[in-house]
């Protein structure tokens, strides 16, 4: 699969009165054309910040501290603002959390769908109006809803509008930041189906961000797990289901009750995410890790990349075996 998006060593910092917060620390991953890549982790792990860093929507005091983002062969981090603005929406659009305030409360839906089109094609005029109607049909909303104001729509309908909006310029990448979090389960299901249907139809790639791991296992091709600003594991959906390698991923998966199979005790992960101004040395997860060893607190684990994905943990050596297995193999 050819790469659409390549993120290399992305670092993002926040200046705070107490010091610099390393919200995203050396994160690298790539997304293939037409691939759905999930990014998961606890609140505050830096998954949304990573997304905003990619599409240059960081708000001060957050700032890009280093790394590179290549989209379709274009290095985004060095692009001047005016050129970046041209790229926005036409190459990459976003869908934010389905809260009420995704849409401007004083403008009609029509005007909010059309201004995205007209911003990139100033001569679109009448054609933009026609496209707005097509976009509504795309998400199964009647075209007369174009004359509604956001508050006249239900939460689910608003989110459909936002998704329709994201399709306006046929982007190659859609970043979805918790697109269904504020919706009830039934509506959520409908929205996810719609997203998958559109993805099938147009073949765009998705960077899907959520803390809802079961949902992610349902719809993403590959999944990255973030902890305290670092990407600790990337694996395909199948690998994630059959056996994630990082203890944090394992803990995360065990925090959700299984829908099928025997009942089991929910374990969760003891402790709290660390203070990112003074993160723990070595592996950032070690204070909470049940399998922590001596080197975990002193040395940062190297990233091991193999056919199963990649993982950053001292439990796995170069060959992708656990340390116990490796020492057993040596004897």
């Amino acid at each position: 699969m050819s790469k659409l998006l390549q993120v290399q060593n992305l670092s993002i910092e926040y200046a705070s009165p107490r010091g610099v917060v390393k919200a995203v620390d050396n994160v690298s991953f790539s997304i293939g054309k037409g691939e759905i890549f999930g990014l998961a982790g606890e609140s505050g792990c830096g998954k949304s910040t990573t997304a905003f860093g990619i599409c240059r929507l960081l708000r001060p005091p957050a700032r890009l501290a280093g790394g590179s983002v290549v989209l379709d062969g274009i290095e985004l981090t060095e692009l001047p603002d005016e050129q970046f603005d041209k790229l926005r929406w036409s190459k990459m659009s976003i869908v934010l959390q389905s809260a009420m305030n995704n849409l401007n409360p004083v403008l009609k839906i029509r005007s909010q769908l059309m201004d995205a089109i007209v911003a990139h094609e100033p001569d679109a005029g009448k054609e933009a109006a026609k496209r707005a109607e097509q976009l509504m049909r795309l998400v199964d909303l009647p075209a007369d809803r174009l004359d509604s104001y956001p508050h006249e729509l239900s939460g689910g309908m608003r989110q459909r509008v936002v998704i329709a909006m994201a399709m306006a310029m046929k982007p190659s990448l859609v970043i979805m930041d918790e697109p269904t979090t504020a919706l009830d389960v039934v509506v959520q299901n409908g929205i996810i189906r719609k997203i998958l249907e559109l993805q099938e139809q147009f073949g765009f790639s998705i960077l899907f961000i959520t803390h809802d791991l079961p949902l992610m296992l349902e719809m993403c091709d590959r999944i990255g797990i973030m902890y305290a600003g670092r990407l600790v594991e990337i694996a395909s959906r199948q690998e994630m289901k059959s056996g994630p390698r990082h203890p944090y991923t394992q803990g995360l998966l065990h925090s959700f009750p299984p829908l099928y199979g025997p009942k089991r005790r929910l374990e969760g992960i003891p402790g709290h995410p660390p203070d990112l101004i003074r993160p723990p040395g070595g592996c950032r997860f070690h204070p909470r890790c049940a399998r922590a060893m001596t080197q975990c607190s002193s040395r940062e684990p190297a990233v091991l990349a193999d056919e199963r994905g990649q993982v950053a943990c001292h439990l796995y050596n170069e060959e992708g075996l656990s340390v116990e297995q490796a020492s057993a193999a040596r004897e």
């Binding site: 599409c55 305030n101 201004d115 995205a116 909006m165």
Partner: protein, 328 residues
């Protein structure tokens, strides 16, 4: 039309009730101040005889001590458009005194209010949009400073510097004494010359509030998700700033703006006193000093009606600018 007749009738009904209450209070309040203006007037004009006092009392409707009688007489007069006769400017009717003062107040206070809001809003928008910039910091600092300085003090300082020492502007009045012999152009010149300092002072005095409120509102709006989405969509800075940002930030200020317009007619008492400017504010102030009930009532009535009308307009216009306001 975004609203129905029920909404319209409700608002109108509410305005009328408010007006009625205002008129009643307006009748009662001056009478709580005590004093007997008819005797005072009679003695002042050396008309000491009992008959004169009695006749004056009858004319002013004070011959019957029953409040109810006076109230009924007052309402009856109002219905006939009669605001009574001013005690202090006897025998000028209140309406004449008011009509003489109104143009001055309108010219200065309305101009100052409109300019102050316009400039304050523009500065607030720019400050919030470039939050933390030199422009933002310096306007913020100035606004906080102006906001904490008493208004009459600014007015006095301005008079002292610009009128007394520099002699750029007159010390008082709205127009030169020999105005009748002036040409039309000179009249306009004279009016502008006299109005400049009061208008400028009024703007300075109210500007800071408008800057701070709009800046805060816009800062709050800028942190909304739809602003982020607007940026992600690649919308132009102008569209984000005005159609998405300022458009939303101005909504809470609209009612305040309409209320200020309603108060324009009451004049700016402090300014008019300091600048001896013959507007409604000064007339009201003197009326209170003179126990001039009819004039006080007339002036308060003008203010009450204009505030109520402006609020009514605000109620009717608000649903048009904020689609979220329910209309049933």
């Amino acid at each position: 039309m975004r609203y129905n007749s029920v909404y319209l009738l409700k608002r109108l009904g509410f305005a009328f009730i408010t007006l009625y209450v205002a008129i009643t209070l307006n009748f009662l309040l001056p009478r709580l101040m005590g004093g007997d203006p008819a005797s005072a007037l009679a003695s002042e004009k050396a008309l000491g005889s009992q008959e004169v006092v009695k006749a004056l009392k009858a004319q002013f409707g004070l011959d019957n001590p029953s409040l109810l009688y006076q109230y009924a007489k007052y309402l009856n007069q109002l219905l006939h458009g009669n605001l009574g006769v001013s005690y202090a400017n006897y025998p000028s009717p209140v309406a004449d005194v008011m009509v003489k003062a109104l143009p001055w107040t309108f010219g200065t206070v309305l101009t100052a209010t409109l300019l102050s809001y316009l400039v304050g809003w523009l500065i607030g928008i720019r400050g919030a949009w470039k939050a933390g910039s030199l422009f933002d910091n310096s306007t913020l600092f100035t606004a906080f400073f102006l906001n904490s300085v008493p208004f009459f003090w600014i007015a006095i300082i301005f008079i002292m510097i610009f009128s007394f020492y520099l002699e750029w502007f007159p010390l008082g009045q709205a127009i030169d004494p020999g105005i009748d012999s002036f040409s039309a152009l000179d009249k306009i010149k004279s009016v502008l010359y006299h109005a400049f300092l009061p208008v400028f002072t009024l703007i300075i005095a109210t500007l800071a509030g408008h800057i701070l409120v709009l800046r805060n509102n816009l800062m709050r709006v800028l942190s909304e998700d739809y602003m982020l989405l607007a940026k992600a969509k690649g919308l132009s800075a102008a569209r984000r700033k005005y159609a998405y940002g300022a458009r939303n930030a101005l909504l809470p200020s609209f009612t305040g703006f309409m209320t200020s317009l309603g108060h324009v007619i009451g004049g700016a008492i402090t300014t008019e006193i300091v600048f001896s400017y013959p507007g409604v504010g000064l007339v009201t102030f003197n009326a209170i000093l003179n126990h001039d009930y009819p004039l006080i009532q007339g002036s308060f009535l003008f203010i009450a009606v204009s505030v109520i009308v402006c609020n009514l307009i605000a109620d009717l216009v608000y649903p048009l600018i904020d689609p979220r306001v329910a209309l049933n």
